[in-house]
Symmetry: C2
Subunit: 237 residues, 2 copies
């Protein structure tokens, strides 16, 4: 089991372009990792992958499990092997990300973090399933559902990507949350930690897999897509 590789199917740029159709079965995705994040077919909700189970938080707030034959348009996974490095108490989002980014000299490589514990406050979003013809990620993100929880225990899983890869991934941090009882989660917008344990895992290799069987992807003209980097920032942060 290779714990030094981060595997990604498709790119944030492809989502930005509106390529929302699922292109990789969950069964194949899980061959490359048991832990990670992604989105569902047709931009149907936020995925968080834990222990080889793909949880889908839909815009109704319901949490489903995806089946092996379900296809995803975008996901980033790895085999979990976190080092416990710290316990954080009382930090808000900005303080937390600042602290994480200073734990290790890893600014130029991909790494994953897991933050497990109790949160005083958590604000998440879930994108809504889109109908064809698809618009862009930026348009779709305008109709996202937002959920807030207080005093909730659960796990945040995410990745750090070097700036050079903004477009391929989200440069900086991108992370999702699921509660311990699997009833609440999504793409994290804001939070305050009560107490949480931080795990970090570095990757030596970033493996980017292209949806080569998707004619929509292969034929897409990215020259028609302005400001991919800015659109990702608006849609994902």
């Amino acid at each position: 089991m290779d714990t030094t590789t981060l595997y990604q199917h498709s790119t944030l740029a492809d989502l930005t372009a509106g390529l929302f159709s699922g292109t990789l079965p969950v069964s194949q995705l899980l061959q490359h990792g048991n832990t990670g994040i992604g989105t569902g077919d047709g931009l149907d909700g936020e995925l968080i992958i834990l222990d080889g189970i793909v949880y889908q938080v839909t815009s109704s707030g319901k949490v489903n499990k995806l089946q092996p034959t379900d296809k995803v348009p975008f996901a980033t996974v790895h085999f979990a092997n976190y080092d416990k490095v710290a316990t954080y108490s009382g930090l808000d989002k900005d303080q937390t990300l600042e602290r994480i980014s200073k734990e290790k000299p890893w600014q130029n490589i991909f790494y994953s973090f897991a933050l497990e514990g109790t949160f005083k406050y958590l604000k998440v979003r879930a994108v809504c399933k889109q109908e064809k013809p698809y618009s862009t990620l930026l348009e779709a993100s305008k109709e996202q559902a937002i959920f807030v929880a207080q005093n909730i225990s659960g796990k945040m899983i995410g990745h750090y990507s070097p700036k050079l890869y903004h477009g391929v991934a989200v440069g900086g941090f991108h992370y999702h949350f699921i509660s311990d009882d699997h009833s609440f989660g999504g793409h994290v917008l804001d939070f305050q930690i009560n107490q949480a344990e931080l795990g970090l895992q570095a990757f030596e290799t970033f493996q980017e897999h292209f949806p080569v069987d998707s004619k929509d992807f292969m034929d897409f003209d990215y020259n028609n897509l302005d400001n991919i980097a800015e659109q990702i920032n608006s849609a994902e942060k």
Copy 2:
């Protein structure tokens, strides 16, 4: 043997930053491919990898073979499995690249091309081995050696990278040449084909490997590096 993956060690951005020290032994590089391009330790010449042999064209014009323990700072390799798709006659550089880019609808994925045959004219360069403290790729490329040949037979090997990956690689085409008698070669600047056979090979996966054991790389502050994209264009095209 995986013929659908393109493996790259380090990035063009790292070279642009002046990270010229070898960080991966040839023996490890060749586990990921028998064909490709790269540069030597200290930016010592242009590498072209054929049939598992790493040829090094130095700035003196001499062609060496690297040994398994020699380390390279940057290289991109794959296991060759080209489809012969066309024979080109009489085309110049721009016409050739235009034709190659229209052979397949592969503008959004990485692919390799091999162009084997006779060339009326060929202009190549080889960068010069640098001494520490290293400057940037752009500075180093100003002291490159240029060689010209006429009526020469040999092989061009290169990669196409989607624009999104400019910085990680050279967006568009990046290719090196070696003559059939292994006495002449380098990073190709210009050429005219007499007659040459084109082989193409698509990649489903791009595997980026980071020089994680290099403190210079891990500690480098890319925020101090302006216009990586433009510097690569000036140094490599």
